[in-house]
Symmetry: C4
Subunit: 217 residues, 4 copies
């Protein structure tokens, strides 16, 4: 009620709305680009040592690729969500900031994963970070919808909820798993390539901008 | 007078105005994202050492969270202020640059706070940095208003002034405090969660885009 | 078919399209600026040591200049390509992300090249990185065109294809070359300054925004 | 002639033009923010050592302040120049990229100046970097004007030329000066606060967006 009264309509505040989106995009763009700083090469190596140094970083390259795809994926989801936002207020902005706070943490979690991929702590930290991002996204979406700030239709909303719960579930599940078999836990993430939400809803929505692209995070 | 003659109207210079805002947003977005570079993990640690290394960084994580919230908060305030700017001139741009210069310093102050949270110098440096940001924001707002560059109404302006003075006061107060009890001084900042401006003005303004979000900085 | 049905028209989704472009521009701008982090100066040097330290970094400065020009060039090409995109879908966004993933890798490849310019591994890594960017750009362009997402005319498309194949070819050719004469292989890149696409098409297209600028990458 | 035929009008290519400006703004924003990375604090210091470490960095703080003001100033000039650009082609984009290449170098030059402020090499390097930026800006402006790409009137153009030549002159002059008295050469830059262009033109132009702001660089 009172909340909706204080929300600003997007159509009447295009510039302000644009700034929120541009700020979020900037944060995503910087976070995704900072991933490259996790790759490094020492000075003064011989020919053979260079090859070894690169080979020793193979897990860092894998972590770079995974995290680049993950942040890119979250950006697409964020992008799609905000394209359906029709009004915004302080709470949405606050939740968005909290969400971005965990996006920005990903380069650190990724450094940890690249350095200590087979260790429990690294897997747990990385999984927890991503799960929190997904859950905050879910919360932000549900909250905005409940307060009438978005134009998402029921079906899309249900699909989003199922998908987010599924993804967060996988990451959360890989946490206890990491205590027993840390080296294997990351493989659990491959299950993410199966996307149950399509099967559940039994169709491809017309407004679906994804096509046959990579699986949704 | 002469000043207002040389100021450019926002409506006639949308692109130029957009660039100022976009540049500022870019600086905020980068400064907030650079905070993650204060978190680091050494190479070649054993399982137990990783846990210790993360635990030893607990103050860095707290500093990250505080500074992320602080910069995000300043961005919201900046965002709200510029949404009411209707004309701009060299002085506003100059003050905005000085303001941004202290925003960009926050990742360094935050590194200091994360590393030496219980030490006088770190608390003083961090408090001074934030107090200067608030005071420069206050100056920028008052100056722009005095010269007719903004559309802020009297009540909002008074509220902003009270709030800024209150926040700057807390930070400035924590400086002498830090000389006697550096480990406790940061707790003083919790008083910021009490927002006297609402009580003072006795209402929630209709144009208030904040809702029940986090307390204003 | 089905693909085109799910693609979003740019004209009906200007804000969303703008975000994709802005995100890409942000990534390009950050990647190009991070190049400067490959330049460093040690602390506590004497006057003569400073000069030596800078002189020892001459290859880093060259790598900085080359990579700045290269990323700038890729940005221009990306810029030109997206100015002809008229609709977008998940596949285009996915390919664009993969493309950006290799753009962001350039600061690392450039660090490697600056540090170990005369070594086989560095030349191979750098060449492969750039060749992959060109090939992904080619793929993105051809795929978008095939699915009717761009307005590129036949002649321009053919020119782009020839040019991209030419550039990718040079980089790929310099890889085996680097195994025999790593110190000389980079000179092969100078051939890039000859642009066969103009000769092939025998004209300067009217819509050519390049003029007599630097050679196209 | 032919050049103007291939130039794109800004009014017909607002989005493309906007991307060029946004990309440039992004580079400026990142370069100015990276300056903070030149400030660092070692780990594990005692209370007194922290104070010493900060005090030892006083020249780094000064270099930070100078370079922040300098990059901010260049951004304002770039901003003003592009607000008068009415058409663009490959040559303008190429010159703009070269210009940005030396803007991005400033954080490195600034690190050098902060570390070795009283040493010849550092002063020469910094002065040369800034002089090149000013000269490239002058070249870009003169070239764009000669080819009819800007709407700058004669008087403003003459003022800009005089001002740029003046500033570049000061920086170039401080180079030989640095060989005899490196510790004093930076004070020469204070002459920049005298702005001869106003005196020369004998008026304050009406379109002057600067007001009584800080002196122009």
């Amino acid at each position: 009620m009172a909340k909706q009264l204080t929300a600003k309509r997007r159509t009447e505040n295009e510039i302000e709305f644009g700034r929120i989106v541009a700020f979020s995009d900037g944060v995503f763009a910087i976070a995704i680009t900072l991933l490259v700083l996790n790759l490094e090469i020492a000075k003064g190596l011989t020919e053979g040592q260079i090859d070894n140094a690169l080979w020793d970083q193979r897990e860092d390259f894998i972590a770079y690729a995974i995290s680049f795809a993950v942040i890119g994926r979250f950006w697409l989801v964020h992008h799609r969500f905000f394209s359906e936002v029709e009004a915004f207020d302080g709470r949405l902005l606050g939740l968005n900031l909290a969400y971005l706070g965990f996006i920005v943490l990903i380069p650190f979690s990724s450094e940890l994963l690249g350095e200590y991929g087979g260790k429990t702590t690294a897997v747990v930290f990385y999984s927890a970070n991503l799960a929190i991002v997904v859950l905050l996204g879910l919360l932000m979406g549900a909250d905005a919808r409940r307060r009438g700030l978005t134009s998402t239709d029921d079906r899309t909303h249900r699909e989003n909820r199922v998908r987010s719960a599924y993804i967060a579930g996988i990451f959360l599940l890989s946490i206890p798993f990491a205590y027993f078999a840390p080296a294997i836990a990351p493989y659990l993430w491959l299950v993410l390539f199966l996307d149950p939400s399509r099967r559940l809803s039994g169709r491809r929505s017309a407004g679906d901008e994804e096509g046959d692209g990579p699986p949704r995070l």
